[in-house]
């Protein structure tokens, strides 16, 4: 898959994983796992990028005697998810057209 495309998709994946409730690193990886494999390094970079873009906030809290970082989506993050859904409605329409043309000729 195109690297830029994949990067954009993974960003939205992570946002979706935290859209309903605050989450933490390992839980995000587990939630996304059925759909796409996310390595720790990739996740770190994505979380950093999203934080820089103000699409999520980070807070550190104590958990089981150690520190854990929790990530919470922002309105900008929700906006990104909406944009993604809109973009892909268009992509799906074109895809249906391509498939239809293909099957008519095939």
């Amino acid at each position: 898959m195109d690297i830029q495309l994949k990067r954009g998709l993974l960003d939205v994946c992570v946002l979706a994983a935290i859209q309903n409730e605050e989450s933490y690193g390992y839980k995000i990886i587990k939630d996304v796992a059925p759909y796409v494999k996310l390595s720790e390094s990739t996740l770190y970079t994505i979380l950093k990028r999203l934080e820089l873009a103000s699409m999520l906030t980070v807070r550190t809290a104590e958990h089981g005697g150690r520190l854990r970082k929790y990530y919470r989506i922002t309105n900008a993050g929700r906006g990104r998810i909406e944009d993604f859904k809109e973009e892909w409605r268009e992509v799906m329409a074109i895809y249906k057209f391509v498939i239809k043309e293909d099957s008519e000729n095939g």
């Binding site: 933490y24 690193g25 390992y26 390595s39 720790e40 390094s41 089981g64 520190l67 970082k69």
Partner: protein, 164 residues
């Protein structure tokens, strides 16, 4: 590998990064390992799932490189015809500049030796003087001996005359 070793090795491999970033990344992985252990994995299994440090470092390196520059530095490529032509046409400009730069560097290097030479230049007359003085001294001693000998002989002659 156990968690301590993994994290310390990772920190060592990330030493080139800004300290805050290296420490933040290490903490991130430490947290990930702990989360897996909490889920029931053993420490070794948790570390194994994280993957190899080599891969992590390679990925970080790949991220930091601007797109299009493979390996982080431009690989040498063949010079195009027009580049060679420009180099030749421009040589009356860059060759003298290069020579001037080389001359400046040489002059700076020579300048470093000036104080050393100056110090030795002060020392040299003293060495020469000492050298000359030694032989002057020897000469004086010999001359004095000669004078003494002559005096003795003269005295002896005088003595014989007065006695004979």
């Amino acid at each position: 590998m156990d968690k301590q070793k993994f994290i310390s090795t990772l920190k060592r491999r990330l030493a080139r990064l800004p300290r805050a970033e290296a420490s933040e990344r290490a903490n991130f992985y430490s947290e990930m390992i702990d989360d897996r252990i909490e889920e029931g994995l053993s420490e070794r299994e948790a570390v194994a799932e994280i993957g190899s440090i080599d891969k992590i470092v390679a990925q970080i390196r790949a991220e930091r490189v601007p797109r299009g520059a493979a390996g982080g530095f431009r690989t040498a490529r063949k010079m195009r015809g027009w580049e060679i032509a420009v180099m030749i046409i421009g040589s009356p400009v860059w060759i003298p500049l290069l020579l001037a730069a080389a001359a400046v560097i040489l002059a700076l290097y020579a300048a470093m030796w000036v104080p050393v030479v100056a110090l030795w230049a002060v020392e040299l007359p003293f060495f020469i003087m000492a050298f000359i003085s030694k032989y002057l001294l020897i000469g004086c001693v010999q001359a004095t001996r000669l004078a003494l000998t002559l005096t003795k002989k003269g005295a002896a002659l005088l003595g014989r005359r007065s006695n004979g």
